[in-house]
């Protein structure tokens, strides 16, 4: 009787134990999250580190908004990491999805910023007289 009671307690509590060891939803971390250029409209160069984690292993590909082909794909993986130099003059969106699907599973955005706003005199940062 005591044994059956203990077994029931274990069966009831097992899902809670499993939730503490595995992520319940996709995770993507981007570092740094911002790239700064001097003038608006200039290409900005940044070395990014992007990490992702999925609840279940599978085939996943990482895409960006500045190129059609994937940055990298992983086979039978539940986590991955990418280090790469990104060059862009606008915000870049990173999307993790399965290669055969368009549904984004996780996303992050690299924000572009600049010191000088763009106008016709923007280059007056160094006036000449």
């Amino acid at each position: 009787m005591l044994y059956k009671l203990l077994l029931s307690v274990c069966l009831v509590s097992a899902p809670t134990v499993r939730a503490n060891n595995e992520p319940l939803k996709p995770v993507m971390i981007l570092s740094p999250a911002q790239c700064v250029a001097i003038h608006q409209g200039q290409d900005c160069y940044v070395d990014i580190k992007l990490s992702w984690q999925m609840p279940t292993p599978g085939e996943y590909c990482l895409f960006s908004s500045i190129r059609v082909e994937p940055l990298k794909c992983w086979q039978k993986a539940s986590a991955g990491q990418l280090k790469r130099e990104i060059v862009s003059s606008e915000n870049v969106r990173f999307i993790l999805r399965r290669p055969t699907s368009q549904e984004p599973l996780a996303t992050q955005e690299l924000e572009l910023a600049w010191v000088y706003k763009k106008n016709a005199r923007a280059r007056s940062s160094w006036r000449m007289f």
Binding site: R121, R127, M128
Partner: protein, 291 residues
């Protein structure tokens, strides 16, 4: 001899530039028309500066830098130039009246020469016997400015035939500049070359030997009648964006002072002093906060 840039008008222009720039940049979202000339910036910097010049004793140490520009929707603009990558010619005021795809044309009032103070002390065996002081106010002039932009190359031309200086009317100031920037990753390298022309009226006003001193009969301070003068200025610099608001700047600037100025007896006297030189050399390294 001291060359200072300070008078109530300059301070007022600078204050207006600071306040209007801050307000304008806070409302930057309103000026979303890419063809709009309205808007501006304000940059305050602090860092290290080395300066060797015939105009004052050598400077070598911490320094403040400030520059800014703001243009209203209707074309009026204010500029403050006390920054790192520019000649220290004070404040400007103007009206932008015509623009093309590559050029901006302005009615432009600027400082053609800074204020100068020359103090002479004459004596025998280090005993001062007579002193003489010659003050000259800064000269503001009115003219036309054309600024062009072709890719990473900038051009600027100024012709200013009207002087606000009460001591002389007929004078001409002109300048011509070309500059280019290169982007190396997030670094910005730039180089510029320019020339400033000042007519003989301007040169004589600041650098001729006054009659009071000529009458003293000192051979080194004989009478001098200057011709027009052309300063040639070359500059290189390297900038890097530390953050959205912080900019690292460094620069080297060399000014070959015109012979018309350098040959002046008073300038020869001052440039021979310890810590002074015939030409102007300036080096700076600073961090700037950009509003």
């Amino acid at each position: 001899m001291k060359a200072r840039i300070s008078n109530p008008l300059s301070h007022a222009l600078l204050a207006l530039c600071i306040t209007q720039s801050g307000q304008a940049l806070a409302n930057q979202a309103g000026a979303s028309d890419p063809s709009s000339q309205a808007g501006g910036f304000l940059k305050i910097g602090y860092g290290y500066k080395f300066e060797q010049t015939p105009y004052h004793d050598e400077k070598n140490g911490a320094a403040m830098f400030l520059s800014g520009r703001y243009q209203f929707d209707f074309g009026l603009y204010l500029e403050a130039s006390h920054g790192a990558n520019e000649l220290d010619l004070g404040n400007s005021l103007g009206f932008n009246f015509y623009n093309t795809e590559h050029w901006n044309f302005d009615l432009h009032a600027m400082q053609a020469h800074g204020e100068t103070v020359m103090e002479f002390v004459f004596g025998v065996d280090d005993i001062p016997m007579q002193s003489y002081r010659m003050d000259r106010d800064e000269t503001h002039m009115l003219g036309l400015r054309a600024s062009g932009q072709y890719g990473q190359t900038s051009l600027q031309f100024i012709v200013a035939p009207y002087s606000f200086n009460e001591d002389y009317d007929d004078a001409l100031f002109g300048s011509a500049w070309v500059a280019h920037t290169w982007q190396i990753k997030n670094w910005e390298l730039y180089a510029s070359l320019g020339a400033n022309f000042r007519s003989s009226e301007i040169i004589n006003h600041y650098y001729s030997t006054s009659s009071e001193i000529v009458d003293l009969g000192i051979p080194r301070l004989a009478a001098y009648d200057a011709d027009y003068g052309v300063d040639v200025i070359g500059q290189i610099g390297l900038n890097y964006p530390v953050s959205r608001d912080l900019l690292f700047e460094s620069y080297y600037r060399y000014t070959d002072v015109s012979d018309s100025i350098a040959d002046s007896p008073v300038m020869k006297l001052f440039s021979d002093l310890d810590g002074r030189s015939d030409n102007v050399t300036e080096v700076g390294m600073l961090m700037s906060y950009v509003f």
